[in-house]
Symmetry: C2
Subunit: 285 residues, 2 copies
Amino acid sequence: MSRVEPSFRVCALFGHPVGHSLSPAMHNAGFEALGLALVYVAHDVEPGRVAEAIAAARTLGYRGLSVTIPHKVAALECMDEVDATARAIGCINTVVNDQGRLVGYNSDGRGALNALREAGADPADRRVLVLGSGGAARAIAMTIAFEARPADLTLLGVVPHELDKLASDVAERAGVRARAVALEDATLEAAMRDAQIVIHCTPVGMHPQSGHSVVPAALFRREQVVFDAVYNPRKTKLLGDAERAGCRIVSGVEMFLGQALVQFELWTGKKPPADVMRCVLEERL
Amino acid sequence: MSRVEPSFRVCALFGHPVGHSLSPAMHNAGFEALGLALVYVAHDVEPGRVAEAIAAARTLGYRGLSVTIPHKVAALECMDEVDATARAIGCINTVVNDQGRLVGYNSDGRGALNALREAGADPADRRVLVLGSGGAARAIAMTIAFEARPADLTLLGVVPHELDKLASDVAERAGVRARAVALEDATLEAAMRDAQIVIHCTPVGMHPQSGHSVVPAALFRREQVVFDAVYNPRKTKLLGDAERAGCRIVSGVEMFLGQALVQFELWTGKKPPADVMRCVLEERL
């Protein structure tokens, strides 16, 4: 029988589309495991309508929101307060309704950072290479710069204005040395020689193009830690190549789970039941 | 594990307070029994804020609402369309969101009417006595007049303007013979001699004043059907006296369940699993 009682508050996903989201299953399993008076639903919010939807959630006293594509940037503008890292990233994926006051966070980068730390690879004082300059790259690079203080960040990508903007934002806002380099064979080879942690944030290798990788297998060195933000497939070609080279690897699944764990803790103030949520995620992937 | 998937739509109770409502447990059990992609939550909506809350529910694509005290009158004004019986009653307790178009209904009277019919006591062509003139009396009298066409309705009460308004509305809107009579010993005795169906809609006999009844025990006649809108206690003094006199009795629990079954069918288009919902209700009462 349903456990939903009148005292329950709602958390929701706002996205478009939302049909394949694993967030309801994961968060509801977590809420249930801790016996919390919360239930998580998904709302398909059309492009351009997120401000209205956020106002509605505030009116109805929703406790929290997950915000995903295409609403992450517009949602930031609807907040009463935005976490410093999220503001530097320029978008949010998490809202906490604190007695009617909406506070925005970005848990994507923190999910990745926590996953790296869990794998024994704290970026602090390390030389970090980020491949890509889109949303995931921006969230991860900025969060690592703000919260883990790497020795330096090298950003390789193919969209010059995005790449330059990210490097200068990391340098100016977080005070971390960062350089933007056009992604070419020679620059990649040089960057791979130097990097201690490699973070892949391009869509290359994602299902159904899972046979591809940005990084030639020969460039991995066994002392590197390699992270892939892609989580479908769970072990991308890039991660497989890195593993064969002896690298420690961290899957995008860990980032996806990690960002949900951060959200859960922001909404509930409680340590999330990570094993339960991981189990739901793995069942469904 | 929670059954809530991204495709699920929300139904909600709007009231103030909502803490003791049995509706979430009842409706969620019904949704689950039929495997429907719906989840029911409760929102405490402060007095004067129901229009805003209804707009929010429309924005977020809620499938349906239950509306209760103190919002039933104000909610009617927020609808795109109102069922004829509900308009005659002057308030709604049910909203169906039909692709963004909000349609209001009042399922309270229908719940009572269905309960009477289930007990083999259709008010059609019967002489019906209604005791009281408040919200429940109005919903039941108007619904019976519109939908069951009794021979006549006698309304006994102690609030003259409410009573006269209800009698004249029943007569004018539904075209059913109705008279309003001040509730006194002599008028009650006369009305009880005449009535085939007795419907009690005053708060007398409700917990914690369960020792009282509006109708002296000696006035019941064994050929009468006696209904009490009060459902706490389940068997009021009035129902106990009527039963001892040999009358067929119908408890307010049947009306409460009946209004929920009507709501369920309006939202889902499916025959509600009445046994499952009754079972949840009885467990909790």
